[in-house]
Amino acid sequence: METDYLALECVSKTFGTVTALDDVSFSAEKGAFLSILGPSGCGKTTALRVIAGLERQTSGHVVINGNDVSGLPVSKRNVGIVFQSYALFPNLTAAKNIAYGLQGRYSRGKVRDMVADLMELVGLEGLGHKYPSQLSGGQQQRVALARAMALSPDLLLLDEPLSALDAKVRIRLRREICSLQKRLGVTTIMVTHDQEEALTMADRILVMNQGRLVQTGSPTEIYKTPATPFVASFIGTMNFLERARKVDKGAYVISGKNFRVHEEDDASGLRPGDMATLAIRPEDVKVVGLGGPETNRFSAVLRSMEYRGAFFRLELSLQVDGLPRIKADVPGETLSALNLTIDRPVHLLMPPEHLLVYGRDNQNGRPVKGNGQEEFRLHG
């Protein structure tokens, strides 16, 4: 695609015997907000550092704005970086921190005007004379952001930018960073281990595990149709029903219980007799009284319930050997309507349209489902 603004082509990076990046390829359009999401040690920070030029890839290419920058150091790549620690110079005021890269390139007056613009942009008017240690965490964050944006970078790279902040500030800054990014139209890559952060901020999410790219897609795609059990369990909560034997198109059996899934969602490449894992999100599991549709309806016993504010998280036992306890998220009114208490028998409904199927092939990170994951092109 010619409009790809940023592209990684088959990038690998090894440190000694450790493979931090294993043949990672993806691309992004200009102005996109990408988030690289994964557990610690999955290679996401290495990916960011390779894009920045702070780390040299062992093999592969990095293209920014049409130029192959694979061999260029960070200073030649025109990227703005916000580190997790912010790395604000402690002996310089907020204004001088922001001016740091501008000085020597522009006249004194011009620098002053640019700094004033940047301070306004991030909402720090009047705080320019303060030293970093005199600013709150959120304010320091904005200084770092303004400093990174000062030289109008081709790429804005954010390394866990919000992890050092407390919950309230974090949520406010999420929105601010997003709106700033949209206003400036700067292509942005954010590394995070916080799924909520990735889901709420990014246009596209890249999920990584053990140095490999596992799935890319919009936040909804990633959440609704996770490509592998890993993605499913890493993002949100998921019930897994293992050792499901395929008996027919869209039909599985576990320990004598029949499960129906939508035929178009069925894992490709599985033949009758093959084993698979079924999965369903707790909020998609319905707890019902007697009666209603018979498909995927199972009797169960309520074992525990946990108050979660807006809903209750129930754990129910299907009373069948080989089936785990099922987690279900149920609103309070359902609970009182059914008059549920611990050890009461109820019925569970797992709607076929919400059941996901994982064949053996995609257990270890290679998506086989037919919803676009093979094509790692991103359309911001």
């Binding site: 970086i81 580190f83 790395a87 613009d117 940047l118 000062a150 700067v186």
Partner: protein
Amino acid sequence: MDSVVAQPAKRSGLFDTFGLEQLKRLLIFLALVWLTVTVVLPVGTLLLKSLTNEQGQFVGFANYAEYFASPALSRSIGNSLAVALATTLISVPLGFAFAWSLTRTCMPGKGMFKSIAMMPLFAPTLLNGIALIYLFGRKGLITKGFFGLLPGISLPLYGPVGIIVSEVIYTFPQAMLILSIALAISDARLYEAATSMGAGRMRIFFTVTLPGIKYGLVSAFFVCFILAFTDFGAPKVVGGNFNILATDIYKQVIGQQNFIMGAVVSVVLLIPTVIAFIVDRIVQQKQVAMIAAKSVPLVNRPDTLRDYAALGFCSMIAFAILAFYATALFASLVKVWPYQLTLGFWHYQFSGMGGGGYAAFFNSIRMSFYSAVLGTSVTFVTAYLVEKIRVIAPVRQGVYFLSILPLALPGLVIGLSYIFFFNASGWTVMGAFFPNPFNFLYATMGILVLSNIVHFYTVGFLTASTALKQMDIEFEQVSDSMGVPFYKTFFRVTLPVSLPAILEVGSYYFVNSMATVSAVIFLYSADIPLASVAIANMDDAGDIAPACAMSMLVVFTNIIVRLAYVLGTKKIKEKTQAWTLG
């Protein structure tokens, strides 16, 4: 490129980026060259010399055979080890008790006690010997029972006793400082856990306190051992006929002009030192790993009995140290000890004395000043290159290793190595003659400053490294990403933020260069006399009172410099308070 802020402008600076990368490589390479010339080549020359004869022919270990065949010489090995071990076994427990009192009790006057305990760091070790003579010598204050007021106590001062007492005073502050740091980093939660499980005081001491500082203890042990094993000043004054390795080197080189045997003894001295040094380095690294963990600082609760016991102990030690140096001060002011106790400045005139008098004193100040300025610059830049400019890993590791190595080199070894290396007019390698490009330094102020820089290099390097490590490594990366050359960030951020550490290194260089005698005694020339050498020479000539007076001048200069450092640091803290709050 669309942006609401500005268009990217030209990347400015002295070098373009690739030039900068080359500059980084060049700098780290220069650091390696510098350490090779000042450390590797001189010490290498010394090792080679110990394997050659007077004519410069290679003779293998013949010189060593000769050394070990002579009981008069080889007996010193046992003597040195015994003295160093005895010193360590006294110094470390005393240092521990003092450090424990400072960190684990609520006794009053901690700051004052710590300052007094650090006094010996400012004095030449020669002074320790001289003060002992005034206390326990034939006409000593205590030998004579305070000029006949009390019954006298006679000590066999000249020999091991005198050396050990001097070295204990010299090494005590080092042990105390190392153990204070080790004790200060302990985790309060461990003590709370132990108490909650019903452990008694003794049990806590043996199961929590001691294991917590074991690395500090081992480190204190080896540091004291190395210092006592290699010190030259005190044994020179009070050693008498009790020969140890350090005085042997001096006697061989200065007394008998036998440079080869001097080199042999130097190597013999070097071996245990290097072993102790390696063990200490290994232990230090473990200690660092312990500090890295998060811990809750311990808050002491008052305990009358414990606090009074600590106060009593510290008062005793502080009194002993003060009395020790007060005796020296008093003796330097007395007209004729012990007969005419009129006070005055007779001995501070140095007229008709050998040693160089005030010229020597001011030379020492000049030398210490140059050593402080140049030494601090070189150590800081090297530490910066190693910590922050991480290019060419093998060279970087080489520079790190060579920066740590001087800690294992006794002053006398450095001095003798420098004679061999810098005095050589050139070398013949495979038939070709290479003139020595550094020969011009010989017998100048330059070589004195150089020997001091190397002698005290490691402590300065480690202090600078620690300060630099506390700074975010991402500072360099952020500047890089903005296209700001690293040297700009060095001057605008790294240097200002490290200023306290830089002053610390500078004052350390100054104080030690003033007091040291071991390296420079081989290197000074007649037209550049030095205070510490003058002390040794006046003491040799029997002019103990002027030697004592000169020592007092050194001590006072060092105390003034140290006070200036403390005040300067305080000023900087006030000025930078705004950005160090966090």
